[in-house]
């Protein structure tokens, strides 16, 4: 366990060395949040609420969804694809740790760094510019923290899955790009899931994506009732467990194929 914590620490320090890159990142996210803020204000127009959410709640939703994204987002899919392609993964495999577990810890190190140097200052800046509704209810913050951690796990697992999948495909780049668009759309980052037509919502219940952005953001904006919060957290936890299966399965096959290639 100690070596994994060390991984988190090293990645955190690595990110710290390049922290100036992040100030502009906050600006980019603020620009995006701004675009959606104006768009949603226009969409709400005279209506006081759509799908049970007020305009302020929607602004908060957009802001928190983007700032939470800084935490759960990582490029471990690209890193894995790159290391497989360049053959570096062979060296990683003889090291005394689980390769995928280690990647996840690196992702967590990155996430923790961005949480402190990106999400928190970003949220303060965005809060000064746009009218947000930050709750003072400690329970909400607690649920939100758990939910965001789970969303990190789901997103990272999907990244692991996509990274390992590139091993079997010729054009990994296209696959990873496509995955990003699917996640942007179906995770609830650009649109709350409750805005989609009924049939689409039914369909998305069987997909893990809404556990990434929709559930934590809905919890944060207090748009969920207590029952819905618990259901949402359960949904996320179940997916974290389910996703282990395809990852392990594909990783085993990939490792076997890798040996043949190296021999």
């Amino acid at each position: 366990m100690a070596k994994y914590i060390e991984m988190i620490r090293i990645r955190f320090l690595m990110m710290l060395a390049y922290r100036t890159n992040y100030y502009s990142g906050i600006l980019i996210y603020s620009i995006n949040i701004g675009a959606y803020y104006f768009l949603w204000s226009a969409i709400y127009g005279g209506q006081s609420s759509i799908q049970g959410m007020s305009a302020t709640q929607m602004t908060t939703y957009v802001a928190v969804a983007w700032m939470a994204r800084a935490f759960y987002f990582n490029n471990i899919d690209r890193e894995i694809a790159m290391e497989i392609k360049e053959g570096k993964v062979a060296i990683e495999l003889i090291r005394p740790y689980s390769y995928l577990g280690m990647k996840m810890m690196q992702g967590l190190g990155e996430g923790i760094f961005r949480l402190f140097f990106f999400s928190v200052p970003g949220m303060v800046i965005v809060g000064l510019i746009f009218p947000l509704q930050l709750t003072t209810n400690l329970h909400t913050w607690g649920y939100f923290a758990i939910s965001t951690l789970l969303s990190f796990m789901i997103n990272s697992q999907l990244n692991l899955l996509a990274g390992v999948l590139t091993f079997f495909t010729l054009n990994g780049e296209g696959l990873l790009r496509a995955k990003r668009f699917v996640i942007d759309l179906l995770s609830g980052l650009i649109l709350p899931i409750s805005f989609y037509p009924e049939w689409a919502q039914q369909l998305m219940k069987y997909l893990p994506f809404q556990g990434i952005s929709y559930i934590p953001s809905m919890i944060f904006t207090e748009s969920f009732t207590n029952d819905e919060i618990l259901q949402g957290l359960l949904f996320q936890a179940v997916w974290v467990i389910i996703l282990v299966i395809p990852i392990q399965f594909l990783w085993r096959i990939a490792k076997r194929k890798l040996v043949i290639q190296g021999g």
């Binding site: 127009g45 010729l170 496509a178 668009f181 805005f195 989609y196 037509p197």
Partner: protein, 261 residues
Amino acid sequence: MFYISIFFQYMSQYLKTKLQYRADLLVEFLSDLMFQAVNLIFILVVFGHTQMLHGWTRDEIIFIYGFFLVPFSVFASFFNIWDFNERYIVRGEMDRVLTRPVHSLFQIILERMELESLLGGVTGLIIMAYAGSRLHLAFHWYDVFIFILFVLGGTLVYAGIFISLATISFWSDARSSIMPMMYNIGNYGRYPVDIYNRVIRYILTWVLPFAFVGVYPSAYFLGKKEWYVYSFLTPVMGIVFFMIAIFLWNAGVKRYRGAGN
């Protein structure tokens, strides 16, 4: 003449290399298509909950998005200048470019051409046709030429802004994230400017005139008379911003000393 023949020679070389890897090309097409679909789905879903966006209907917004895709795809095909700093200044490739008897900017445009992005323009045309037929827009024979003029104007606006930003590298070779920032600001131009507050509207019109890539030119085809003045300013803005960019580029090249020894 010389420039035109160089252009076609680069283009044929480009097509040869691309057609070697057809599967890659297909994947690229598909992921581009998905990107465009994401934005379209956003508009469609949102209009499931509202009738009007500041007086603009669903189909009008879709039309603007379709139009935006056309100049944007032309820009993306020919002006891949976003990594100019790393590719040409830091690695010293600029030295090679400068030894050749063709204008440096023209060479870079040719080298970094990505014609497959033009497919986005086709998607844009299809989206416009769909929205246009639902709106029963009247088309005249001369609209074709106006359309081409506006697309060129919009492309030049984009090109002018991004080339100007790339020239910063001549003065400072530090890495900056100003390019991705600009791409995100560019998205503001896809929606009617009147939804933004006055400052942003002013910036989008005169400082970073992204509105001339989407809303303003589209307003002409949508028959929004109050915006006609802006619509017809599109080519003017394009030329002005492109000229500024060329001027900055030439000034920068004069200052360029090379990164190596």
